[in-house]
């Protein structure tokens, strides 16, 4: 796990490189001086209250929903949806 992962590997995008346009944005943040270094105060707290959590429930999908989900998987073999070969390493 100690090996360094480059952005192309992290992003699963072949040949991906950091871009100059984006680096300029990051430089502004690096040089900024926020007065609070605590990023977890409450200004943008959208977390749900424990009292407000819904119960776990199982909702049966409609037949049409199941059918469309299958249509979105183009590869089918013997009634099973087929994914690519597994990673062997």
């Amino acid at each position: 796990m100690s090996k360094t992962m480059t952005v192309d590997v992290l992003s699963s995008i072949k040949g991906a490189q950091p871009s100059e346009a984006v680096s300029k944005l990051f430089d502004v943040i690096k040089n900024a001086h926020p007065t609070n270094n605590n990023a977890f105060n409450n200004a943008n707290n959208n977390a749900v209250s424990l009292n407000d959590l819904r119960d776990d429930m199982i909702i049966e999908s409609a037949a049409i929903e199941k059918q469309i989900i299958k249509e979105n998987f183009p590869n089918e073999k013997n009634g099973f949806l087929v994914v690519s070969k597994v990673i062997e390493e």
């Binding site: 992962m5 699963s12 490189q17 943040i29 007065t35 959208n46 819904r54 049409i64 929903e65």
Partner: protein, 466 residues
Amino acid sequence: MDSQIKQIHQQLVNKQITCTALVQEKLDLLKQNTHHTVNSLLDTQALELAAKVDVKIANGETIGLLEGIPFGIKDVYMVQGTYTTASSDLLKNYKSAYTATAIQKLLDAGAIPLVKENCDSFGHGSSSENTIFGAVKNAINPDLVGGGSSGGSAVNVAKGYTVFSIGGDTGGSVRQPAGYNNIYGLKPTYGRISRFGLMAYASSTDCVGPLAKSIEDIRIVLNVMSGKDIKDQTTYASAEIKDESISNSEGIKTIGYFKNFIESDAIDAQVKSDFLVSIEKIKAKGIEVKALDFFEANTLVSTYYTLAMAETASNLSRLDGTNYGERIESGNLKETYSVTRSENFSEESKRRIVGGNQVLSQGFSDEIYLKGLALRDQISENFENDFKEVDIILSPVTPSTPPKIGDSLKDPHAMYLSDAYTVGFSLGQLPTLTVPQGTATGLQISAAKNNDELVLKFANFLKDMI
């Protein structure tokens, strides 16, 4: 302009027009249009729904206000059985299995969806040029961009192809194209409308937003879509905004504007002078105007994009050709992911995903991502303090007029900076409305969180005044 929804409703009830003729006329306009606003037409379903409305009217049954009203949907919303492409190669053949809550509420009210509308791929852009369906052309001058990312939606409304459209606003994607095409566009308070079924770009600022030609139509559509939804736990319950409660400007005594937005070198001279003329007119009506301090445009844009890229890198990781999207087979699963994403994402989407993974990676996250979050909190605190002093904040929508088609793609950094006036209100999760008045690309009206009513109220006041 008065409410088109109410006008059409009356014509339908009075049997001056049939719903089928109305829907057919709009479908024809959409089909023939050369502004590249259409990703797919929902013609069969729309005509079936229209026929049902006509039967109801013929039988003397009462119809609801939105029943039979034709509307458009940005192609990032799930509508069961329709192609939902996000204007991307990755999802060009993807069909929605279910319908977004906001859209379902409109369908339940009887509104008729006509079209899935062109936009920047996954919302990644400010010009609606980052799309596989061709750059959206501006409604007023087709040599210019339609704005983005909800460009197709704004142009359809401006041209009268749809009565209203539903866009999505993450950093200005409803407000900026509304400004570029001289119509109204609202980003409600974050959480007022459920995001369930809206394809996620940056989940902490994504908002569902209506575009229309009148404040009244924005109000009607907003009321229908608002409300708590168990499928989006960031939603909150909100009261209906009544027509009479926004018809006068009572209670608005002080407004503010950000000095540095107007004193910036980047602002177009005409936009600046038009904005200041509007401010003088407001003062002349006896409203106090305060010049406020705010963060530099560069800081706002950088904070927004840093956080939005981090969120989009995470949200789009599921688009790998196995969980979702067009798969391109390769040697093994990892290679398949990689080739699928390299070939099917646009340059701009790849730039943002890579940027997002950069800031989230070890070594960078403290220096950039966490600092970005701290800056965001400071921006929000700044707003909270401002709204102790003023009722409304007024701003231009954009520093300059729409660019020519082709220019934004050449200089992504310049495109990011063009969002300087919209992104701050997204980070603050504030209700903000673009009105087609005051400058060439309109004015933005913002109020404190959950105060969408005050925004519409001030818009009505401006409508009669400027």
